[in-house]
Assembly symmetry: D4
Homo-oligomer: 215 residues x 8
Amino acid sequence: MSDDHVFDFQRQARIGLAEAVLCAGKTPAQIDAIIATAMGNEKRLLLTRLADEVARQLDAPMDYDPLSRTGIVGEADPPAGPAAVAVVTAGTSDLPVAREAVRTLGFYGRAVTEISDVGVAGLWRLLAREEDLRRHACVIAVAGMEGALFSVVAGLVPGLVIAVPTSTGYGVARGGETALHAALTSCAPGVVAVNIDNGYGAASAALRFLAARDR
Amino acid sequence: MSDDHVFDFQRQARIGLAEAVLCAGKTPAQIDAIIATAMGNEKRLLLTRLADEVARQLDAPMDYDPLSRTGIVGEADPPAGPAAVAVVTAGTSDLPVAREAVRTLGFYGRAVTEISDVGVAGLWRLLAREEDLRRHACVIAVAGMEGALFSVVAGLVPGLVIAVPTSTGYGVARGGETALHAALTSCAPGVVAVNIDNGYGAASAALRFLAARDR
Amino acid sequence: MSDDHVFDFQRQARIGLAEAVLCAGKTPAQIDAIIATAMGNEKRLLLTRLADEVARQLDAPMDYDPLSRTGIVGEADPPAGPAAVAVVTAGTSDLPVAREAVRTLGFYGRAVTEISDVGVAGLWRLLAREEDLRRHACVIAVAGMEGALFSVVAGLVPGLVIAVPTSTGYGVARGGETALHAALTSCAPGVVAVNIDNGYGAASAALRFLAARDR
Amino acid sequence: MSDDHVFDFQRQARIGLAEAVLCAGKTPAQIDAIIATAMGNEKRLLLTRLADEVARQLDAPMDYDPLSRTGIVGEADPPAGPAAVAVVTAGTSDLPVAREAVRTLGFYGRAVTEISDVGVAGLWRLLAREEDLRRHACVIAVAGMEGALFSVVAGLVPGLVIAVPTSTGYGVARGGETALHAALTSCAPGVVAVNIDNGYGAASAALRFLAARDR
Amino acid sequence: MSDDHVFDFQRQARIGLAEAVLCAGKTPAQIDAIIATAMGNEKRLLLTRLADEVARQLDAPMDYDPLSRTGIVGEADPPAGPAAVAVVTAGTSDLPVAREAVRTLGFYGRAVTEISDVGVAGLWRLLAREEDLRRHACVIAVAGMEGALFSVVAGLVPGLVIAVPTSTGYGVARGGETALHAALTSCAPGVVAVNIDNGYGAASAALRFLAARDR
Amino acid sequence: MSDDHVFDFQRQARIGLAEAVLCAGKTPAQIDAIIATAMGNEKRLLLTRLADEVARQLDAPMDYDPLSRTGIVGEADPPAGPAAVAVVTAGTSDLPVAREAVRTLGFYGRAVTEISDVGVAGLWRLLAREEDLRRHACVIAVAGMEGALFSVVAGLVPGLVIAVPTSTGYGVARGGETALHAALTSCAPGVVAVNIDNGYGAASAALRFLAARDR
Amino acid sequence: MSDDHVFDFQRQARIGLAEAVLCAGKTPAQIDAIIATAMGNEKRLLLTRLADEVARQLDAPMDYDPLSRTGIVGEADPPAGPAAVAVVTAGTSDLPVAREAVRTLGFYGRAVTEISDVGVAGLWRLLAREEDLRRHACVIAVAGMEGALFSVVAGLVPGLVIAVPTSTGYGVARGGETALHAALTSCAPGVVAVNIDNGYGAASAALRFLAARDR
Amino acid sequence: MSDDHVFDFQRQARIGLAEAVLCAGKTPAQIDAIIATAMGNEKRLLLTRLADEVARQLDAPMDYDPLSRTGIVGEADPPAGPAAVAVVTAGTSDLPVAREAVRTLGFYGRAVTEISDVGVAGLWRLLAREEDLRRHACVIAVAGMEGALFSVVAGLVPGLVIAVPTSTGYGVARGGETALHAALTSCAPGVVAVNIDNGYGAASAALRFLAARDR
């Protein structure tokens, strides 16, 4: 059981998404070693859940974003064309997760429309953006607490709605479980969900969608 | 341990609400005995969760409503004045619970505005009733599944919003738990909740509210 | 609170999906009334979770499928073009849920490739269909128990993978919760999930996807 | 996705409650920015879950209370009239949550009667205050552990009883879930509940109640 | 693996309690066989959770009580002395569980004081029995829903308080779990609990207590 | 809402147990204030869950035990007579909880037999103490993990068995929930349980038992 | 998606275990079809969770056992050699699950020692069989409720101990979850577990073990 | 209750496994004392969950491995013969748990084949090792998140498959519970599981297996 990471180099060719590195629980030395292995074969690498203090200890130069805790080693694809994906958030606390999705999409050269603070307690904020939202093929909705945003958005737009529940809230918010369950039991048809706080996963699904659309 | 029910006859005077009989799990004979005991002291009695087939076997004459499974023995108070309470439902499956609240309010002579099928998937249905809803001192919102109705209503009206989560839905709706947690973690301030499917409880809270207002 | 259902007639125009009728918990009389209301405005109607014995008591003629417990009143759209969506199942017990997805897609004229019994315990069965699966823009994977199928499929194909966990299994399968959680924590990137046993929801998401692709 | 907070300035006019700032998880710089944005439009601002060490780093002058971790920027409404709301606690550990409710009510100029240490293990302490409690239109009961206080209070007083379960306790107290469930399953009719430790929410409900009463 | 039950005949001598037969899930033939085996060695036998329709099919003559679903084969010990144990219930629905405890105590010749319908919503009913309760060495308190009775009783009496949570209630009562957790997190010191609906277990603990006291 | 603690001074006379101070979550200043208030009326005071670093900051002199995190202010009752209570532990990690029970019993002058490391994996260790255990009127069994000790002890001894589940273990030990549930579902009759890690509660129940026995 | 079952005919050669048919939720017609397909390739077939009333409607002749609800079509392997596996049960209610394991082992010609009613409440029953148990290479322990049997057995014997938790019990036994967690947190080293009520799975593991031993 | 640990010295002779010391929650002084007691009777001792900073404070010399947090005092058995056990991991985060298993097997002189990073998202990595894996009598599979590895491995190899779920992952991975449930509900027959992160337990089961095989 060598400690060398066995990279899945065929992944980009096979499913259109390269292996990313989930940095939570890895030491700087381990991450540097994985970067070295990966960059021998790939032209770029995405790192997620990379804490600020860990990022500062890495040898590899990278484009690091502290809000989303993501790092990009090498060159991201240049952004191309109008945004087909909108990322919307209920409140300020949902921004880090939303930004992880934005950064992942940007890594693959996909433009994104970002809309924040449209939680349903002040419904006019969302309704003011309704027409804009309806123009996007895919809406990634990011919300914690009761996750009512998912149903309201999915009742307003025709595009694919990917819900990202966040761990925002306390008590019976249960670290995002209530928002997740709200997404899955939405009264609006066709909402799909990813794991709590998984902005990367939502972006990956959107990338599968966009690649299939573009084929 | 005699099987004679010890009725709390002081309850109406003490808290403004008479003891009601939860009939689930009681036999027709037991319910008839409780009615006899109660009607010796009270001029009327409310029965909840009274199944149709049990109601048919009771000796006491009553006003029975099969949708809400409630029975009223004796005379309900006559309805008085304009409706201070609105009861709104997300969908058809929430009607039995909503009707239990309406019947309880009616038992005490309180008028109610009923608004149904205003789930947020078709938001225009709720927005069309916004002005009407804002005129009520108290809104009882009844919804299952993801319970997004609670937050949207509480963001639109100034009155007291009492959420009644229902067991409508399947899978992670978890028999109403997701809707309950949505009510409790609402991003709109001041939503209060009662137990799942507890239309009687929501009406009781509204009655406490109305009595305090009228004092 | 009249018992007349308030149909969301704007839904098809707004989000591309018409309101469907979830029949669980409704009486034949209620369903017949909703059909009558709906068919005054729509040219067709989809009914889900319609039990065999209830379907037999309905007045309206319909195309009823007992395996998926779905009914179609009026004319479904004619199927068009090659299948962009594949529906795969782990085992025989997952077929009713899978068929609900197939029927929903067919209602909107979308062709489907159906592949059954490809659970990972006999991995060759899935690998034999790998090339076929990779040709589809969207794969709806239907599995209960441990839901390993979701990760294995998503590691093999580039299309959008929508996981439908089913309630197949016992003990800690927990009525589909384990399969749902497996979908959400998949080690393969970009898996999205719908509620347990929600074939209709997965198809609705695929329809949003196809409509966005075709715009 | 600018980091500028989109304030819901219409909220006070719409529902009678201004947007408050939940400070948990925000940096001092973010909070200062929100205060600046808000005070451009509002004459005062309430901040909740504001930790002592964060409060000390803020630029804006404010009235800060460390027990409840609340801050008030600008002028609270002057207190008016006799107290219509009583806030009662079971024990010392429930005081921070109770005080959050008191501060929120005070922010809107509502007088409060505070009664502490009336847990039911020493029932005489509560019974000694029974007459006093009965004079209030609304009682906010704050308790953790088994939450028996909610039922006992609601059996004694005619006013609206709002239960605030707290995270006091250990083991199967489950961070407040047991107290929350006790509130929701109370044998006394008409108890309503807010989320665990949500003193702000209970006060918001009371404010809706008082505003409706006073209209 | 013969189907002959291996009876623990040494149990009475070893721990003072004979093996009882939990009849749930056993066929009449199996129960009759166990009775035959047991009565070859013991002079009496207690059967619990014995449904009415099963009891009617048994060959062995017995004293059967349908409320508690218990049967006694052979001679119970004659009751002796004043009651050292009181069994109190919150409401009518708790009676079957309470009666199971009473029957078990009676099987061993222990007298019991039964007090019913003393739920805390009408506190005067319990306070009226306070002096009586204080005279008993052990109080078995039987309650479902929020289980507030346990804490109030334990705050009033010096004796051992054994809480029996019952499955009375719905929604977040969770089949007795909320009442169980209330017993275990009681603010009154020294409450002990048995499993949900386990009247037999509470009586067994009381019997251990009485035997130790009498040694 | 003054911060002065309202002490339940009648508790010792009423139920035989004085109010103890649960120090978790209280500051040294608060604890010192409570001690001052209490010692004006009582001749001694028990403090539980008192962390070492907090104890060191208190003004009041006390007998502090770091293993059990208990403090005794004033004079404990002198121990009297032979031990009627045995406290047994499954393993070393259960000692702090066991010692809390021992200290509480000692506070009231009750002698205790302590037996440690008798977990059932090495059954001979428990069987070697069987005769000794059988001589005690009450056995407090302290165990985490799977809690098998409770059933084995209760199958061997005639005395009252009080189970104290502990949070020892990881994974599905779930912080003591598995041990708690094991106690409550024991196949040996008459086991009673207290909350997880609640050595104080178990001792309080034993004290109720001993007081009743001695009356 | 044809309804023809895709049998995994390579399974016996690949892993030493043939595909078995879980009959729960299948109609007699479906099961008959699967039998026909299977018996075209295999010389025998095992059916599990086959209800008595379903078995009676099947066309295929089989050896059916109502206690374990298993059917064997074709010829089981003849039993060979001394028993290497012992199957022990805590109580009568665990027999159906135990027998499913025994029947599965017998299907592959493996002899089994069956020992029943050795629950730890009467420990002598198990200790009397200790020497016998120690002679077996593998012990399958079957128990519900608190599952203490697993730890006690694993502390006594050197062989592989496979725990099968059963759904025997009520309340916090939680349908077998408590026994499952007890197995997984056993203080005796090296206990392994299968799903609740999964006698077939335990036998399959034992068969893997025996095949590896015999290679 | 002396603090001297009562060592189970008969354990090696009785079940073939010596008592190991779980160091989590013990102080360096306590661990040193246990080592001293143990080494008076045993020739070696295994310590698990021994944190790096605690290990550095111990007096006893030992072979310490920081990745697995295990220490070996005295002489491990020399490795003998070809590896009968393979330990495979899904990803890098699973290595500490896997290594605990490897170290435990090595302590008893058992050789191990280690295979890492064979998670099913890149299925070719596992298929490349299929033949190698099939040669082992026992495969310990270590995986977190959705735990799909367990089913895929068990569908490929004939040996005993012991699943070790790990706490790798976030959100509904629930600290390893999802992987655990996936192991227990595997569609491949005969998977057995140990507690979350319990590499020691898996190795102990493998040692029981190997000892039984070698007898």
